[in-house]
Assembly symmetry: C2
Homo-oligomer: 407 residues x 2
């Protein structure tokens, strides 16, 4: 069986190299001694690259070649990845992808196409890089009713927050350092504004709860609003700040799904996940909490997941029906304001003591926080657990600087 890669960037080139490097053990595990990489589709040429002879520019070479049984899509983005993947599936080729945007937005349609043509569409690499998560969620925890999936899903922002906490760096300096190290793009918005984490929590929620959750249904905040003051208040109160994607099954059959910076207590393992690492927590009724940790991005970690999916496809030339989900519908995700949560709130005010006294009437049980170097007109507090909308209503008219959920 022959293989093709679509998109020869960081991940695609990692896939080519990993297939070559661990050739022998991969052949043994896939039980396909003749698994051969035949084409690499890319618009560019790669003179001098060891895989340059395989590079082609016309997707039809792959689509029309009956020897190609498995295609790895590592182009990223929605178009033309969607059209290419769909065409491959329609021609009876299994597809594996690392493209979270594609899975989060078009996963349901592509899964149905794969089903109709009795081939596989696998996407372990789309969440958590090389961390095994999609298969454990859908197979290993199959005996469980899953009630929650949450985690640190973006390495770039976790690196930035780690630097803000450990080294007291302001956000902009930490972002600059992430860019210098190649962890953040020149335009960092997909990471920093939470869109990347949003796509991943959509995929996880879809698999955990069985209905498609779309990115536009998930309230998404990034880390730009996290100030040094917030870091100091959180630390003093025993919390780390992490960008968390979180989805929960609600009793009425809907789900809650949000992305945003949250205060995570020090004794929670997620608070101890630093630098570019990711960690994903799943709560099942039988297994309780399990956490999966590792590098959430990078050439070889991501290629590891792509190639594992290729091996799986090679072993199962007939479609494996692990993944099946339905359409969710417009009302499937409950408004975030209805979630019952504790909030961290920082505001500017004339007199912190008077303001806190006034707010405590509206937010009974609220706790005032302190920090080193607190300014006179600054108040930070943690609300009791209540409907988020109600807590925010109590703050109406106040000069609120920062709002974050407690994890």
């Amino acid at each position: 069986m022959d293989l093709a890669i679509m998109g020869y960037g960081v991940v695609g080139s990692g896939v080519a190299r990993l297939l070559a490097r661990n050739n022998e053990s991969i052949a043994a595990r896939s039980m396909q001694p003749n698994m051969r990489l035949k084409y690499i589709l890319d618009l560019r040429e790669f003179p001098g690259d060891p895989f340059a002879p395989l590079v082609v520019h016309d997707v039809n070479l792959i689509l029309d070649d009956p020897e190609i049984g498995i295609v790895a899509e590592t182009m990223g983005g929605q178009h033309p990845a969607f059209e290419f993947v769909k065409a491959c599936l329609e021609r009876g080729k299994s597809v594996v992808t690392s493209n979270k945007e594609l899975v989060a937005t078009k996963g349901l349609e592509l899964m149905q196409t794969a089903k109709a043509h009795n081939v596989n569409f696998l996407f372990e690499a789309s969440v958590g890089g090389g961390i095994p998560i999609i298969r454990p969620l859908s197979q290993c925890l199959a005996a469980n009713v899953i009630s929650e999936v949450a985690g640190i899903l973006n390495g770039t922002t976790n690196f930035i927050l780690t630097k803000m906490f450990a080294d007291g760096m302001p956000f902009d300096t930490a972002l600059g350092l992430a860019q210098e190290n190649g962890y953040a793009e020149k335009d960092p918005s997909a990471d920093v504004d939470g869109h990347d984490a949003c796509r991943k929590i959509c995929i996880l929620a879809t698999l955990a709860f069985g209905r498609h959750v779309y990115p536009e249904q998930v309230r998404t905040e990034g880390v730009r609003g996290v100030a040094t003051e917030d870091v100091l208040y959180a630390e003093h109160a025993g919390y780390n700040i992490k960008l968390i994607g979180r989805a929960r099954r609600l009793e009425d059959g809907r789900v809650s799904a949000v992305v945003g910076p949250m205060l995570v207590p020090f004794d929670n393992l997620l608070a101890n996940v630093n630098d570019v690492y990711n960690a994903i927590m799943i709560h099942g009724d039988a297994v309780e909490d399990v956490i999966f940790y590792g590098r959430g991005a990078g050439r070889f970690p991501t290629a590891s997941a792509v190639v594992a999916d290729m091996i799986d496809c090679a072993k199962h030339t007939q479609r494996r029906r692990f993944f099946d989900w339905e359409t969710g519908g417009a009302d499937y995700v409950a408004p975030a304001a209805q979630d019952v949560v504790s909030l961290y709130i920082r505001l500017r005010c004339g007199s912190p003591d008077e303001t806190f006294a006034a707010l405590r009437g509206l937010l009974p049980g609220a706790q005032k926080l302190s920090r080193e170097g607190a300014q006179p007109h600054e108040l930070a507090l943690i609300t009791p657990k209540m409907e988020e909308g109600a807590a925010l209503a109590a703050l109406r008219g106040r000069d609120v600087q920062s709002v974050m959920r407690l994890f």
Copy 2:
């Protein structure tokens, strides 16, 4: 397809309850609408138990019933579990087990029996309770060459060590508390002396490196020797003490495999795994470090893994060949004394300063440790990385109180 459970103890009764509780979703995932629990084999009667009508005492009822396609073995121990499991496999029934002793000692033979009869022998529940680890190791990381597997594999000892660290409890008090809470048996030796962790690292090493590692090949130390003084020295130097099972692939094709208390640096995620939780780290050449965390024992977490394996068997009535390993042989595991490691050493001596000066000549780069309340004739140090046997030779004739590896 009908099911049977052999052994109606903590785990077996959890399996029966979980099958009943999540009946609908389990049927959907296994694509077997008629999966029915038919027999529970146990020597005892369970009057009043909801599953009492299914209890039988004769294994032949299960063996001779052609409707039984999948058997869960949750008896524990080697005998008669081995004979029963083997007979089931020979009659063409797939077997799933939570019995680590059985897999660690007889796994190779049972796997070969399963192969010969084209049925499955699965054992996700034998390591890490409900934490998905066996399947991720053999499937999700299939593109990797694994160089190391290590972790906190026993919840009882991790609870004890957590109490010694967090609350300054002496070992005996912490053990008593573990017994009160039902985490430790009345005879705690399987946990406390490391045998349980040893069986689990054998299973992990076998799967990771492809050859069977037997418990008697693994140098195994428990936690009885961890003294309050060691806790204080470790903490002061920035380490937690954890009972670690660790297996590494050596360059000459052999493996290193040991179980013992080790000093884990605070910034390693494993140092932050507390109470009865387990965590398993795998290092692959592409994925780098991944960690799996969760409850390593308990009725429902373990049943979660058993039932996931049953679902897998139901979906694949033909044998899936994920697991294949060979015999290792007597020389396959290198002597632990040849491992290159840093050691923590505590000894009694006349003059700590003079002794340290003398030892530093033999252990160049050794670091002296300090603690609150240190006694005058007490010395603790960390050796440089060197062959363990050579480091211990340098201490010959000294009154050594404690030796532990650094993780």
